[in-house]
Amino acid sequence: MSETVQPMTDSSTRTGQRPMISLQGVSKTYPKQSKPAVAELSLDVPEGAIVMLIGPSGCGKTTTLKMMNRLIEPSSGRILLDGDDVTDVNGDQLRRRIGYVIQQVGLFPHLTIADNVAVVPKMLGWDKARVTRRVDELLRLVGMEPGDFRDRYPRQLSGGQQQRVGVARGLAADPPVMLMDEPFGAIDPITRERLQEEFLEVQRQVAKTICFVTHDLSEAVKLGDRIAVFGPGGRLAQYDTPDEVLTNPADEFVAEFVGSGAAVRRLSLLELSRLELEEVVISSGGAPTNRHPVLAVNDAGRPERWLHLPGSGDPPPLVVVPLSGTVYDAVDVMLDGRAPLVVVVDDDGQPRGALRWDALVGDLRTKGRLP
């Protein structure tokens, strides 16, 4: 059972295409500065999507995020939230409808965990029973047993636990939109990895529209449905899916920012099921063809060994990767088994095709930097 308050959305129309947040020609110039921090930015965040704002420091990504809930007032342009122009509405009222999570967490040290989570619902005037129910539900959602944590104080919690509470506080009034400013930036790598997994799991359950500032490209690729790459001077250099940003950087700047390792990162985005695999001939000892590799299978139809590989003398060692894996997994087993090609098998272990090292280099070339 979950509390839902939806002052602005009708859940039946979650198409994923409608922009939930829409920035229209938004600029921000700080006082006494000649250059704008964000210049003429237009950006649509589709409903239910995770959009990652990324770029070098000083590129205006945090400024952009803070203009969405008007912690920073834009110098010009319009901000639309679910179709409503919120450029001029009361900022405090607006912020109660938008979840906000920051890197330093900023839990109120004098309030218990439960009171911290309950801040916004209480301001919105929820009755006590409803607040308590919601707090327990949220603590459970972020993996903290309410009985253990409800009455503790922030300083009694580890950094990772504090940020879970921070996320719970952001979600408290069930806002349709969450803004997150490097929420996992100050957390050790191992905990960060776990929090990212949990974050995706939570998002699967709550399906919020999320804007997420990060400076970590791996994080952006891992979490984002879309990535907005900011360039110097508050310019939006590219706004696209992670795959596109890594494969086809819009310009020199993005290419350089995505930089070395982009190709490798992209491997983990590319599922084997989306590839055109090389045909494999299943043979029980017939004459080898010259065009396709020949595979011997056992009685159950599972691959046993290579019989013949066109263009090479001895058949190579056999390595196998499941179809549900990514190209990254395929490369991993190939490197590990010192094999020039890998058999891709489906859930039943039946061979579906092969992926060659050569094809990999040919197909996935982006900037010609494959290890």
Partner: protein
């Protein structure tokens, strides 16, 4: 020793009265000073009262200016201040309280300013981010978090005023200054030394009562989450 106890028991009513006066005059002054300092600090924390041209010329903010004035007040010799106030406010309780208030402002103001600005900026950003307005931020977040620092400022102010209040006797002010000064004026005469000792010990006793009081106040007004 025996003669001192005899002096105490013979004059217990009067001495207790002086101690009570002392306690109250300090209490009133501190209450007024705290009210002024809190109001001033809250206003100055979010506003510049002086026009920008001033702040620029003197290179100080209104807040720093207020602190400077308050610290200047604290450095006026107490004997002189009571004398200076006398033509305007006459003798007795009123000028005493005014003078003591002036002395008490600086420690309270200083600590209130320090306490308010020591609140973690991340906490304040989070408070804004969840939609708390300036007033709610002050009452629900900043003031509770600054409170322990403010209370310790008040404690310092209490200790300062207890000793300065003794001087109020020169303008006929209330409190333990009376026996002390009487004793000093006729040192060598009967019971004169007893009076000096009593004035001094009386101040210590008043201070002790206040300390206990503040321990209790601090204990019950500091939010549990930030208690050390």
């Amino acid at each position: 020793m025996g003669s001192y106890l005899r002096y105490l028991s013979e004059n217990s009513q009067t001495l207790l009265f002086y101690a009570q006066q002392h306690f109250l005059v300090v209490g009133y002054s501190i209450a007024i000073a705290t009210a002024i300092s809190l109001a001033l600090a809250l206003v100055l924390h979010t506003n510049q009262l002086t026009p920008p041209s001033w702040s620029k010329r003197f290179r100080i903010s209104s807040q720093e200016g207020a602190l400077l004035l308050a610290s200047a007040a604290l450095t006026i010799p107490s004997l002189a201040l009571f004398g200076l106030l006398q033509p305007m406010l006459g003798l007795g309780v009123t000028p005493s309280i005014v003078a003591l208030t002036l002395y008490a402002i600086y420690p309270v103001l200083r600590n209130t300013v320090a306490g308010l600005s020591s609140v973690d900026s991340a906490v304040l950003e989070a408070a804004r981010g969840v939609g708390m307005g300036p007033v709610r931020r002050m009452w629900r977040v900043q003031l509770p978090l600054a409170w322990p620092v403010i209370v310790s400022g008040i404690r310092v102010a209490v200790l300062i005023t207890i000793s300065i209040a003794v001087v109020a006797a020169i303008i006929n002010g209330p409190g333990l200054g009376k026996p002390l000064q009487d004793g000093l004026a006729r040192l060598g005469a009967v019971d004169s030394f007893n009076e000096v000792i009593t004035g001094t010990l009386g101040c210590l006793a008043v201070a002790a009562v206040y300390e206990v009081l503040f321990l209790i106040i601090q204990r019950f007004t500091t939010p549990r989450g930030i208690r050390v």
